[in-house]
Point group: C2
Chain length 330, copies 2
């Protein structure tokens, strides 16, 4: 029996963003490098690429953000909040970016946003997206995994509806973050920068092939679906953390964590075990920026997702993968 | 011929400081842990230990400093600057710490200050001091090197006169920073925390032995004397860096760097070589906090320093190793 080919609209308008967090430097320097180039990254008949430094003020200050985390500002509610004199810079900037790249959920939105991030966690290269049935994102993931042999490539799925999706990539018709680690925030390491550059180049290569009519065969891919976050043990009065990630868990992102496995080591030297009753895959272990968010690590369930054979089909209109049309999202 | 034993004054008052940089978390959590303990770290007849969180405001904000780098404020000039309404918090705090632990250069100063730091550079454990002839510091270094098998232990010497010495440990009669890396700023890693705790414990063990009258045999130790800093290549107009540390140099702290060895990789992929004509030992390679200071790495010359056999001798008064007496420094 011949497999059905799913036709999908072309991706003529692509945005690559960096500096959404001002101290995650691979993306900052990659975007700056591209902005310096006289010739655009890609500006063929097939598609155009817009490069964006998302939070220039935070980049300037060498901090994640100036007043609030920009990458939590792209929900439907925040994008539609009226601006007053008290509005934090990042909310104003999120609405600017929504005008430039969106509006989110509308037919005017760019076709794909690729937002560049770094983490202090030992996560290799991850695509992070809000959908486990966006065939474009999943095919790009499979392509990257095959092309990049130097670094593990994984797909993380945050199961949130589009209106609640809070990060920049949710403004595009398709979108994902590329997260690479470990790298300290405020530091640029050549190997991480080079991996980021190669990753983005492979994404653009895939889009060129797709827009040229290439058929991408179906198959199955591994997806890590976010289940829950675990916070550090904290002092009741001061709220200070009282333990660090256990040395046996540190840097073991995506290695299966079993019930009772060591998870924290208190500052007085005691080992604390994982209290859950399901074995799950940890990620974002000891991410610097998540201390303030109350996240010591996240846990995911690994699943196999079947993806169909796809091909670009002219004249098709984009429809949100979850069945929302643009109008319903307004 | 029997070797001469150099008699030195006891060390009855010791200070261990952390959080001088608010985002270097091993020291922050170690000091907090000790401040929580009801019993003091050490309070015997032999000596007392004062534990100090040096920059509580920066710790609270999770940043290196609030207005200026506290650990550059302990020069003679800054410690004597008049306080006005415009005086940055860190200058006020440096003068408070000088009252608590000094005054610098006076006979009232504590006998030894051990200040705890982290670096994003792959430096293992380093003692950093302003003297290569402070036998107390050098004997403690040799003791740590022998006791700690899990982590490389080195001694870095910044050749500055006491008045110009800018960091907290210069306030004590003896003093050094303990610098451990790699660890991202704003992150606490269990293994680094544990190494810091063990390091400090060995320092206190040595002081207990010394104050009890133990004879410490002379010999020779390896010292890295700071020669110069090298900045990143920068864009003339924007002053932004245009290259990162070369992947072949990254994490190779203390490995000899030869003329023409790769030192930077530009963001467009070009390799730049080391232009010096003397082989030297790099350290603080890609330290996060030094981007703003214009330091991509520092270079040191490795030397052998002979240290005499020493023993505590009652009734002796401290004299600065460089021959300054306390009065001359006032």
């Amino acid at each position: 029996m011949e497999e059905e080919v799913v036709g999908m609209p072309a991706l003529p308008r692509v945005a690559v963003c960096g500096g959404t967090h001002g101290n995650e430097l691979s993306g900052v320097y990659l975007i700056r490098e591209w902005l310096k180039m006289e010739r655009k990254v890609e500006d063929s008949e097939l598609f155009s690429v817009l490069t964006v430094l998302s939070n220039p003020r935070a980049v300037q200050q060498g901090r994640r953000y100036t007043e609030m985390d920009l990458n939590r500002c792209f929900t439907h509610a925040t994008l539609n909040r009226p601006i007053t004199e008290q509005t934090p810079y990042e909310i104003i900037r999120s609405q600017e970016l929504n005008s430039l790249l969106g509006p989110k959920g509308s037919s005017n939105a760019v076709d794909l946003i690729c937002d560049l991030h770094n983490t202090t966690a030992n996560m290799g290269l991850c695509l992070i997206a809000y959908s486990d049935c966006d065939w474009i994102c999943l095919h790009i993931f499979r392509y990257l995994k095959r092309q990049m042999s130097d670094i593990p490539v994984r797909y993380i799925h945050f199961d949130l509806p589009p209106k609640e999706a809070y990060s920049l990539e949710s403004v595009g018709k398709h979108g994902f973050a590329i997260e690479i680690g470990p790298q300290p925030h405020g530091v640029v390491r050549s190997n991480t920068y080079t991996a980021m550059k190669a990753g983005v180049q492979h994404v653009l290569d895939w889009i060129r092939l797709f827009n040229s009519g290439t058929v991408f065969e179906g198959g199955s891919v591994e997806v890590y679906t976010m289940v829950k976050n675990i916070d550090y043990p904290r002092d009741r009065e001061t709220h200070n953390i009282t333990a660090a990630i256990h040395p046996q868990l540190q840097d073991k992102d995506f290695c299966l964590l079993h019930p009772n496995d060591p998870i924290f080591q208190t500052f007085s030297g005691e080992t604390l075990g994982y209290k859950g009753n399901e074995s799950l895959h940890p990620f974002f272990i000891n991410e610097c920026a998540y201390y303030e968010k109350g996240i010591a690590l996240s846990l995911a369930r690994r699943r196999c997702v079947k993806i169909p054979t796809i091909q670009m089909q002219r004249g098709l209109q984009h429809q949100d993968e979850r069945g929302f049309t643009s109008e319903e999202l307004e």
